[in-house]
Subunit: 336 residues, 2 copies
């Protein structure tokens, strides 16, 4: 492929002029500009990005690490990120970490090598290398942003919903329907997100004086773990009349298990999910769930990161986006 020298020669100008035509055309005389553009056209020239990156010390790329792309929740956030990044002229470097710490760390190393200008991570762990950057940048912000999770002590800007409040509202809905014996199927409690939701749910149960009636089981956000938890719950001598799942997929598992045991949802068991993935409304019955603004979360993380890259952001901001309780047909009054 051709380089800037060949273009310069063909157009009878210096490489400086070629470069200027391509980056700030209006400071070049019209005639010269035309000749250069013609040469560019003829040779099919496109500036080599490695050379450009080296000279400008920028890569034009954002590194995004996702715990699991095949999860529709994350893939929607990713779509929001990609869209916003693309609009801003950045490309997305994707890392699927598969919830694996090693891989998270390995991807974070790309920042040191300047393979990306910034990092957006959707998991709950701040990779060591990124933490180093954060410490080095303090009190300003390192180009590292989190999505979904939020932990003030990390010192990393983040975009997320108010998980505690959302869980509170989910349980409020169930208590409002007359349920008293309610189960919560959480995600792994290592993540602040799950802890926040559990806190919110517990708070609402306490407010109802039903603390002892809140049965907590732990899942891993997979359909199967939801099914397994339901299996246990429904075998209790005093089984719950409603289940609040920390994501929609576990809710699917619960409904599946309930059905296989001959229970009808919501008549015999009310189920609430979390996220409102695309399929939630098409489940049978359509799932009552907490809707999160996935795309907006993704776009929000990009916005924060760009602010930092432009040198505008001072303190680690935390952006809380609104959620909604979407009531569909998987919940009904108790003994309904």
């Amino acid at each position: 492929m051709s380089n800037i020298y060949e273009v310069a020669k063909r157009a009878g100008v210096s490489t400086a002029t070629v470069s200027r035509v391509l980056s700030r055309p209006n400071i070049v005389a019209p005639g010269t500009r035309r000749r250069v553009l013609q040469a560019v056209e003829r040779l099919g020239y496109a500036p080599n990005s490695a050379a450009k990156n080296l000279r400008t010390l920028r890569s034009g790329k954002l590194l995004v690490t996702v715990p699991d792309i095949s999860n529709p929740f994350f893939s929607l956030i990713l779509q929001g990120i990609e869209e916003a990044a693309h609009r801003a002229g950045y490309a997305v470097l994707l890392g699927d970490t598969q919830h694996n710490e090693k891989r998270e760390e390995r991807y974070a190393l790309m920042l040191n090598r300047k393979e990306a200008d910034g990092l957006i991570f959707l998991g709950h762990r701040l990779p060591k290398e990124a933490a180093t950057l954060v410490r080095a940048a303090a009190p300003r912000c390192a180009p590292v942003v989190n999505g979904c999770e939020f932990s003030p002590r990390l010192g990393v800007p983040s975009v997320h919903i108010d998980n505690a409040r959302a869980a509170y509202e989910a349980l409020d809905h169930l208590f409002g329907l007359g349920h008293r014996r309610i189960a919560a199927i959480t995600g792994p409690l290592v993540s602040p997100l799950s802890r926040d939701r559990l806190r919110g749910a517990t708070a609402r149960a306490k407010a109802a004086g039903a603390t002892h009636d809140l049965i907590v089981r732990h899942g891993d956000f997979s359909i199967e773990s939801g099914g397994a938890a339901a299996e246990q719950l429904l075998s209790l001598k005093n089984p719950p009349t409603a289940v609040f799942c920390f994501n929609d997929e576990m809710a699917m598992g619960v409904i599946e298990t309930a059905r296989s045991r001959g229970l009808r949802v919501p008549r015999d068991l009310s189920v609430v999910g979390f996220d409102d993935i695309r399929f939630a409304r098409y489940m049978d019955p359509p799932l009552t769930t907490i809707a999160q603004p996935m795309r907006e979360i993704g776009e929000g993380t990009v916005r924060l990161l760009l602010e930092i890259l432009r040198g505008n952001a001072i303190a680690p901001v935390s952006v809380t986006l609104p959620h909604t309780l979407v009531i569909r047909a998987s919940t009904s009054p108790v003994n309904g």
Copy 2:
């Protein structure tokens, strides 16, 4: 951040030696190696990738364009790609094209700028710039590979299933159950993938002498388009007893619509999907569908691309992976 010169100075060696310690440690004397590694450690040095890329004329990145990441079918393929690329030491540059030709073209330009060493595209359009590369490389292969779609005249290697045969088998299953009046809801026919499936379905109908009974409607792979098509089909004076959808999401739409009209699946209407996305088995009823090996398709495209990058591949290969008809509960004998 520190560069190779500072490391060299601190270790009392030349930059050449530092570089060698990091790339081929065993050609450096053990003592020297240790000193260099210590300096690297102290300074937290990591080689600047832009400089490396510039010098080696490689980027270590694969560009992957996907029509829609939020589609679970594509996101699983993408996961396979990411995994295989990561294993081979490549990073993934992600482009969500949203089925938009402009965006496909824009992403393809990254190849010219050497932002990636190769392109894997999952749509059906070969971007102009990529086509230029392909032509220039002939009769050898340009580093451009397709996933899912396959069109021999593009001259691009591809990994996919035998779509015609799969559709043939889907209809075979329905005919075997006694259905005669069958509908097919296709994807956009601009893509070879949809045309192949339609061809296979038509062939089987013809074999059954039921050509006139195959009703064809066109969807766009969205849940909504499946629902809309079903609305039309079920309003016919002589409605079909079975529907074959070109993906699982449209099948969801069909089932949803059927249910809302008081029909029971499969008693009143049998439904077959395509892809076997994760949710298919949890639908109500669990969906009969054609399972595609998504992860393997992704991994396959990476394998092909790496072969080309290594200079091994000669002619545009086409890899056909096996599919399976997974019979669940959304199909049953006619008038069952």
